[in-house]
Symmetry: C2
Subunit: 223 residues, 2 copies
DNA sequence: AAAAAAGTTGACCGTTTTGTCAACTTCTAT
DNA sequence: ATAGAAGTTGACAAAACGGTCAACTTTTTT
């Protein structure tokens, strides 16, 4: 008997803590959410069909509705957690580090996250593309404040002469867009790179190209 | 009577040449396609409802079906033209120019196009996100060959010592992602920049930040 | 001015889709 | 072992949706 196990009404198990949470509810909710992220990331809220989510989760449709009362509820549950990776990678941008290593770490972390969580990354892109109407006000406030905070770090680096004068917020956008592109627009990236699938080598060269270009620039330096 | 005016079966008036093409068919097809680009760009093929397209175009649903025989036909008509901006901006990347001015021109052109054609840009993003299944093989081949061709220009610049050694294809991805971001993810860009709407000044600073960073890099140069 | 062609429209039909439910099975606590 | 709670399921109802159409109006041709 592992504690009192009443009813579990809340839906916040998109990332199970341990390994095999054996409670049936937790397991099935997880199955549904994983499938939902995949489907929503391709089709968006209105384009996704719940039978598709049901099939992808291996559960019959009726069972999906046993855990969630509507498609929108599933959708909201999937996007509720999307902001986390934002801060996480952002932790690398801290005032007491050297810009070069901080930015390189940031790029590598963000690229790696996007690669390992391609569906979530696409889902986020899809949600923003549609106008971000389902992101909670708090989530957006949070992103805004984290961005502002980290922008100050860049400004401090500039003030300390460790970096060329640059607009911190546009710089972040440059880094976000580049690091998310490979996961969001994989089909396009594959075409451009003339491969049929992005492999580790491609991601490594992406990281190298981004950091090298952003940090050192393209123009040859006068010796 | 301005010449022979038979029937116009082809659907290629997404960008009317003159101003007020007065033929009813042309005008209405245009209305529908414009509305469709807007709706598809937010919801995708499956998520878009044709009543929504009808409403946005100001025409009743039945009338929409007088000009198009299915939703997919409308969708295909909207994406058929998306590749054009690709080459157009790419024209700036030519071997006989200096890298610095070529890349700056490219960034500004692409940014400006994305701003002025935000819905098309989002539609393209949406289509790629969903796997690019409706882009014709020829369109993708075309993009592949143009990319390869322009990659050679970069390689030549590198060989001539005009640029630091860099992977041309990943560099293009870096430029694409940055220049498209503002139109595709406007909601996010607005949050990051703390504005409620992107204005000319924001686009100018974006262009400046991208070119400055990509060309010169962030790290201070040894004098 | 009359006829033909093109365009307009709301009502309609079959299908898909969301969401419900009652009968059933499995699990868990005692 | 048993009772009650939790979970499962296919069948079903209601609504939304894609697409059709016949009657109608407007435009163009002669």
């Amino acid at each position: 008997m592992a504690g009192s196990l009443k009813r579990n009404d809340s839906i916040d198990e998109i990332a199970a803590p341990g390994v095999s949470e054996d409670r049936i509810r937790a397991r099935n909710v997880q199955k549904i959410l994983s499938a939902a992220v995949e489907v929503f990331s391709r089709k968006g809220l209105d384009g996704a069909r719940i039978v598709e989510i049901a099939k992808a989760s291996g559960l019959p449709k009726g069972n999906v509705y046993y855990y969630f009362s509507s498609k929108e509820e599933i959708y909201n549950a999937t996007i509720a957690h999307l902001i986390h990776s934002w801060d996480e990678a952002f932790q690398h941008i801290s005032a007491d580090r050297e810009p070069a290593v901080a930015i390189e770490d940031y790029v590598r972390t963000k690229l790696e996250y996007a690669r390992q969580n391609a569906a979530e990354t696409r889902l986020f892109a899809n949600e923003i593309l549609q106008g971000a109407g389902h992101l909670s006000g708090e989530a957006r406030d949070h992103m805004r404040s984290i961005t502002a905070e980290k922008a100050k770090v860049i400004d401090a680096w500039v003030a300390a002469g460790k970096m060329v004068k640059v607009d911190a917020r546009h710089l972040f956008i440059l880094l976000w867009s580049a690091t998310q592109f490979y996961a969001e627009f994989e089909a396009l990236a594959c075409d451009a790179l003339q491969v049929d699938q992005l492999r580790t080598a491609d991601y490594n060269l992406a990281a190298k190209t981004i950091t090298q270009t952003v940090l050192g620039g393209l123009l040859p330096r006068p010796s």
